[in-house]
């Protein structure tokens, strides 16, 4: 009985950890969708670039002899956020802004093209081999008997969860309190009206992309340190999962992205735990289809009123 409980707890921890990173990436999708109603397919690649830059920063600092962990962590975080947000801004400026206001399919296809471009840009620059790095932060707590089955909660898992919560809190604060955040909400509600009222909508949209990219970089840094591996292809599947999370929670809603991410993470780890790892993806996509069928707006999404 105790063992079964601990096993469940362990899988819950695993699910929440992976789900937290889905949530961070999902923010980028959900914010962009909330404001301009497009799926930014290239977002997963920005996460991948974030991981690469974090690796470079960590390796660089190790070569300079910096060993103090918080500095390494913060340095990697800042470097990857800087580069990723630059990519976020540039992608919006080059590939999406000229297309705004036309057929909805066009920016989507441009985004798919951008995703392919970025993936191969990194592949050409950094090679197609896996880049691996040893763990920086090891160890953790152990719950349960030491001789039998015991659940473990590693420090890295705690960091991932805490950083996710802090980022979410900061973002919510920014959106609800700051001037720019208010502008964001206004633009999300009605872009044309916001424009008429003197809000620089281009600037707001660019900010959205930058914030989304920065959070993807946070996820990239965390996951990079957690798994210690990156290659040019990791962005695609992570992006897909995060997008699923965003839709699950209700696309356009920031708490929804968090909820969706964590739910998806838990669903995946429970499938692997009690059924089979090979059906993990089937279950997460199946869940998505079911949610959309019975509650198309997702768990926390608001029903959309058709504007005539």
């Amino acid at each position: 009985m105790l063992e079964a409980g601990l096993y469940f707890l362990q899988q819950l921890i695993n699910g929440i950890t992976i789900g937290s990173t889905y949530a961070l990436i999902a923010i980028g999708y959900t914010m962009v969708y909330g404001i301009i109603g497009m799926i930014n397919f290239a977002h997963g690649e920005i996460y991948m670039i974030g991981t690469y830059v974090a690796f470079m920063a960590i390796a660089g600092m190790a070569m300079l002899g910096i060993e103090f962990l918080p500095i390494i962590f913060l340095g990697a975080l800042l470097a990857s956020m800087l580069v990723s947000s630059s990519f976020g801004w540039a992608v919006e400026r080059i590939a999406y802004r000229p297309l705004r206001g036309g057929n909805r399919l066009i920016p989507l296809i441009s985004a798919i093209g951008m995703s392919i471009f970025l993936q191969n840009y990194v592949r050409l620059g950094q090679g197609s081999r896996d880049i691996a790095m040893s763990s920086q932060i090891t160890g953790g707590f152990s719950i349960g008997p030491t001789d039998g089955f015991h659940a473990t909660l590693s420090y890295m898992q705690i960091i991932i969860f805490v950083v996710m919560l802090v980022s979410m809190a900061l973002l919510t604060l920014f959106i609800s309190k700051s001037r720019m955040g208010r502008a964001c909400r206004a633009v999300a509600q009605d872009l044309k009206m916001a424009n008429l009222l003197g809000i620089d909508t281009n600037r707001v949209i660019a900010t959205t992309f930058v914030i989304g990219a920065a959070l993807a970089a946070v996820a990239g840094t965390l996951l990079g340190m957690y798994y210690g591996v990156v290659n040019a292809y990791v962005g695609f599947i992570a992006g897909l999962k995060a997008f699923t999370a965003a839709v699950l929670g209700g696309i356009g809603s920031i708490p929804g992205a968090m909820l969706g991410g964590i739910l998806l993470g838990i669903a995946e780890s429970m499938t692997a735990a009690y059924f089979s790892t090979e059906y993990k993806d089937v279950v997460s996509f199946g869940l998505l289809v079911l949610i959309l069928l019975f509650k198309p707006t997702g768990i926390l999404g608001k029903p959309e009123v058709e504007k005539i």
Partner: protein, 431 residues
């Protein structure tokens, strides 16, 4: 000017940030640790030059634009000088006939690589045209189109493996099965809005692929299914007695027919197999084109477009939204099944690797590049995309990079595609 300089500086700085970490730094493994090394000086110089170019162009943006406007070639005049509408129709008909004759005759005069690649092009033409119905005409974004393609391919492979059925028996079955899948999936999901539809179909595509991979006992799982026979052709024999002989074009008969070269007592020629497959693909592609052309002109085709343009208006005119969408989805899916059976025959071996999400993207790219809704455009785009993959061996490294960049640039400069669709219309003759 004063406002421009900071922005140009900003852009130049951004270029450095975008290019330097990815291109200018290398992550390398030294022993068990990871180290960063700088790339060679040329890369660094390249990054700086790129930044400089960005700086200058941003600074002189308005001047460049003005110069471009001044020297911009005047296409309008060119179009006016083209022959009139009636003549153009005649010319296009002649061109079409010439193309068909060329397509029929040319493979006999070229080396065997070409009919093979042309077969692949034709498979993508069928796929592109099928997806064009869904995306281009009905405006439903389907990102899991490859699932129906897989259904078609696997139904031929499985039926021929387990029951020994021939290509011609499996082709309609594969098509129908794919259509059924389309219908079953479409029924619940089509009430979703565009973007949701995209993601559900994407999920469905992945689910089908994973299931094919996991049901090892039936589908062979990742091992796939091999030795799928090539299609045979019927030949009606009058002497010595009246019967239908199925001719095969391989060295040995595998599908219960008679090898062509033995039947006619000719020396065995292996490229004939490739050519026959190509001709079958050509016939199937032509059938696809004709069917879809008919459909577009039928009420249902008009309804697809009307629905794409304005859903609310359609509903208020009493059109059944679900039925129309469902018909587009099902018909699109059935063509994917059609192409899938053909693909299985060409390949001789299929496994789930051939039906990844990437395939859906390529097919979508074909539809978009060709111009959504435009049939000729889709055909040309299919040829370009397949040939780009096959012919640019020297640029292999950069192929996908260019592919992505072209997709983005096309959307910016020519979002309506290479050859935008022309709506069927009637024009009053002005005397």
């Amino acid at each position: 000017m004063s406002k421009k300089v900071p922005f140009a500086l900003f852009c130049a700085g951004l270029t450095v940030i975008l290019a330097f970490p990815i291109l200018g730094l290398n992550l390398e493994h030294k022993g068990t640790s990871l180290v960063v090394t700088g790339a060679d000086n040329w890369t660094l110089i390249g990054v700086l030059v790129a930044a400089l170019i960005v700086f200058v162009t941003q600074l002189l943006k308005s001047q460049i634009k003005a110069t471009y406007q001044a020297v911009k070639p005047n296409f309008g005049g060119l179009i006016q000088r083209l022959p009139g509408e009636d003549k153009r129709k005649l010319i296009s008909k002649l061109v079409l006939i010439a193309l068909i004759i060329a397509a029929l005759v040319l493979p006999f005069f070229t080396s065997r690589q070409w009919p093979d690649i042309a077969t692949l092009v034709l498979i993508y033409v069928i796929l592109g045209l099928g997806l064009n119905v869904v995306v281009g005409l009905a405006g439903l974004l389907d990102l899991g189109y490859v699932a129906f393609y897989a259904v078609g391919a696997y139904s031929y492979a499985l039926l021929s493996q387990y029951f020994g059925w021939s290509f011609w028996a499996c082709l309609p079955i594969g098509t129908l099965l794919a259509a059924t899948f389309g219908l079953l999936l479409g029924f619940p999901v089509l009430r979703l809005r565009g973007d949701y539809l995209a993601i559900v179909t994407l999920g469905f595509g992945e689910i089908i692929r994973i299931l094919l991979n996991n049901f090892t006992s039936i589908t062979g799982g990742p091992n796939g299914i091999g030795n799928i026979p090539k299609p045979s052709l019927p030949f009606i024999q009058f002497e010595p007695n009246f019967e239908i002989v199925w001719l095969e074009f391989g060295r040995r008969a595998t599908d219960g027919g008679v090898p062509f070269h033995k039947f006619f007592d000719l020396p065995y020629d292996s490229s004939l197999k490739v050519i026959v497959l190509y001709l079958i693909a050509l016939a199937l592609a032509v059938i696809t084109i004709l069917i879809i052309q008919r459909l577009i002109r039928m009420p249902v085709g008009r309804a697809w477009e009307a629905l794409r343009e304005d859903e609310i208006a359609c509903r208020s005119l009493g059109l059944n939204r679900t039925a129309i969408k469902l018909s587009a989805f099902t018909i699109g899916a059935s063509f994917a099944g059609f192409a899938g059976s053909l693909f299985a025959a060409r390949q001789g071996f299929i496994n789930p690797e051939s039906f990844i999400f990437w395939e859906s993207v390529i097919i979508l790219a074909i539809v978009v590049l060709g111009g959504m809704g435009s049939q000729i455009g889709v055909m040309i785009a299919a040829a370009i995309v397949v040939l780009l993959q096959e012919l640019t061996a020297e640029f292999d490294e950069y192929r996908l990079l260019a592919f992505g960049a072209i997709m983005v640039l096309m959307m910016i400069w020519k979002p309506q595609g290479l050859l935008p669709m022309k709506r069927p219309h009637i024009k009053l003759k002005q005397e």
